[in-house]
């Protein structure tokens, strides 16, 4: 048998077409494999990123090619109270929402780390806010925050009798700001909880057993085992969360569009309003570029979080 099969195999191997051989040539294959991904990213990510930075230094408007104007756009932004307002609210929004998401998300992860019936079903249900399109759940929040028919107002006024008037959620600056933050926290909890739950499940139970033998209390076990072991994954998830909360757009655009009185503009919504809706591409790009220093800071934070994790697990950096 082997005698008869060998020649045919050899025949098949002796005459592969030049195309097959080309695709088996490793450098060529590497280039071909990387080309689609790198090409797409270069044309639609790297190039626009550079173009955006260039646009920020020009006075381009929709339909007119702009000229280089140096730092004029940025100088203007520094004197613009609306920009300062957006920076202020972006920082407040990111700060409070991140804190809320992580406090509640960590708590939820700890709860889910216990044993109880229907655990996987519950885990599946909890991810729902994160799966559903943000704009669509934001619309539901808009309806929940309705000045006249808000269900929260109904509960507080007509059912519980805690208040006598409806809450004006979106009509004045600070309530509107906090309403948006609440919606953002609602949307962010599942992602944080499920990511942290994955981290919790990697902590070896033997650590807790050892601590319990030494007489550690529940709080001590959390403080000296859970928290330090979770630090690396917390750092990564938090970096992602901070980046995408700081540059959030959908929620604010869907619920308030920056109102009332421009008090809830984030940098992204302000950039959209000036750049696309207002047509001042140069100025909009400058607002978008002004987010970059913050994101670079967050990325460095992520990188060091990642490095620390490898070091903790006793792996070498590859």
């Amino acid at each position: 048998m082997s005698v008869t099969t060998l020649p045919t195999l050899a025949l098949a191997r002796r005459q592969p077409s030049w195309l097959v051989r080309l695709f088996d040539y490793k450098p060529f294959l590497i280039v071909m494999c990387l080309a689609p991904a790198i090409g797409l990213l270069a044309v639609f990510l790297t190039y626009p990123l550079g173009l955006g930075i260039w646009l920020a230094f020009t006075d381009t408007t929709i339909g007119r090619k702009g000229d280089f104007v140096g730092f004029e756009n940025f100088q203007y932004l520094l004197t613009d109270p609306l920009w300062w307002n957006a920076v202020f609210y972006s920082v407040v929004y990111t700060g409070i929402a991140t804190f809320g998401k992580f406090a509640l998300g960590f708590w939820l992860a700890l709860l889910l780390n216990n044993h109880f019936p229907f655990k996987s079903l519950l885990r599946a249900i909890i991810l729902m806010p994160w799966i559903v399109p943000t704009v669509l759940s934001a619309l539901a929040f808009w309806w929940i925050y309705d000045p006249q028919f808000s269900i929260i107002s109904y509960l507080l006024v007509d059912v519980l009798h805690w208040r006598t008037t409806n809450i004006d959620f979106l009509g004045s600056p600070w309530p509107a700001r906090f309403s948006l933050i609440a919606a953002n926290i609602w949307r962010g909890i599942p992602f944080v909880a499920i990511s942290l739950l994955a981290g919790l499940q990697t902590i070896s139970p033997s650590l807790y057993e050892a601590a319990m033998l030494d007489g550690a209390t529940a709080w001590q076990r959390f403080r000296y085992i859970t928290f330090p072991m979770m630090m690396p994954i917390l750092a990564i998830v938090m970096t992602f969360s901070i980046i995408f909360t700081f540059t959030d757009f959908q929620l604010v655009y869907a619920i308030t569009r920056g109102g009332p009185g421009n008090s809830t503009h984030l940098l992204a919504t302000l950039a959209f309003q000036r750049g696309i809706a207002g047509g001042e591409l140069g100025e909009g790009a400058a607002i978008a570029v002004s987010m970059i220093p913050f994101l670079v800071f967050a990325t460095l934070f992520s990188y060091f979080g990642l490095a620390r994790r490898k070091w903790q697990q006793g792996e070498s950096n590859d």
Binding site: F23, C33, W143, W186, L295
Partner: protein
């Protein structure tokens, strides 16, 4: 003798404080009660969305005579209005097309890229991987203004094709990282065997690596589908004509009209727009969870 026999029994019946922690009421207060609150709050907006879409307008605007938490006479009027008086079916179709197109494109691109980075190891492959990872950290909010001018330059403004080409910018980095993780878990020896047997690299990818990476491909696929279904800012900036809009954008810009909002129709639109991803999600929950945690971990 009696002493030694009694001791284990005593340990079993009067356990340390861990068992007290697990005991009835305390467990209820510390675990089930907060969990219940979480589930209630996380799901309430969906309940409210659903119940609003089936309520007749009279009930929607009158809390005094109707209990707002329930429907006394459910109606399909809002959904009928949506399906027959608006371009909603068209928007759904466009969204589906864009989601499937961009998912396919990014799956192909990222499978090849992940294979090259993880399996065809070459000098600098970790840096290419890092570069793609960094691309994931560039948020769309920074890119949409220059991308709008790029899209206009390419003559793709107001075309769903623009979205199919642009969405891979955030899908490819994610999928590539997910698939690198999956390829890592496939034993390299399998490929070596195939190489020794005279298979070409492409045959190895097609016959050995890809079939073993199917769970990873499914994870990456459904995740990309969801992300492109949910995308908002690019669709808002690049599409102008009502007929070509995707569902999230169309509901916000076409259905919100005037000062009196038609909450019934808005919520029905949100419900219908969420259903495809929700169904998709319920079919592949485990893949979602693994891809979510996998992408964060590596």
């Amino acid at each position: 003798m009696t002493d030694t026999a009694a001791q284990p029994a005593a340990v079993a019946t009067t356990p340390p404080d861990t068992m007290a922690w697990d005991s009835g009421l305390r467990r209820l207060m510390m675990i089930y009660l907060p969990l219940g609150c979480f589930v209630l709050i996380l799901l309430f907006p969906f309940y409210w969305m659903t119940i609003t879409s089936f309520k007749p307008n009279a009930e929607l605007m009158n809390y005094k005579e109707h209990n707002p938490f329930w429907i006394s006479s459910p109606t399909l009027a809002h959904i009928k209005h949506l399906l027959f008086n608006t371009a909603y079916p068209r928007w759904l179709w466009t969204t589906m097309l864009v989601a499937i197109g961009s998912t396919t494109l990014s799956l192909i691109a990222s499978t090849l890229a992940a294979y090259a980075i993880e399996r065809l190891r070459f000098r600098g492959s970790p840096y290419v991987g890092l570069g793609i990872y960094l691309a994931y950290l560039v948020p769309p909010s920074i890119l949409f203004i220059p991308l709008a001018t790029v899209v206009v330059q390419f003559g793709l403004f107001d075309s769903p094709l623009a979205l199919i080409l642009v969405y891979p910018t955030f899908l490819v980095p994610f999928c590539t990282w997910l698939l690198i993780g999956y390829f890592k878990s496939i034993p390299y020896e399998l490929e070596e065997c195939a190489l020794v047997d005279g298979a070409t690299r492409l045959q190895i990818l097609r016959r050995i690596t890809l079939p073993l990476a199917v769970p990873g491909l499914i994870s990456a696929g459904i995740f990309s589908f969801t992300l492109s279904w949910n995308e908002f800012i690019y669709a808002l900036a690049f599409i102008q004509s009502g007929a070509n809009k995707t569902v999230p954008v169309a509901i916000l810009t076409e259905l919100v009209t005037g000062d009196v909002y038609q909450w019934g129709a808005l919520m029905a639109g949100s419900l219908l727009g969420s259903l495809p991803v929700a169904i998709f999600y319920s079919l592949f929950v485990d893949y979602y969870v693994s891809s979510l945690t996998g992408a964060v971990k590596e």
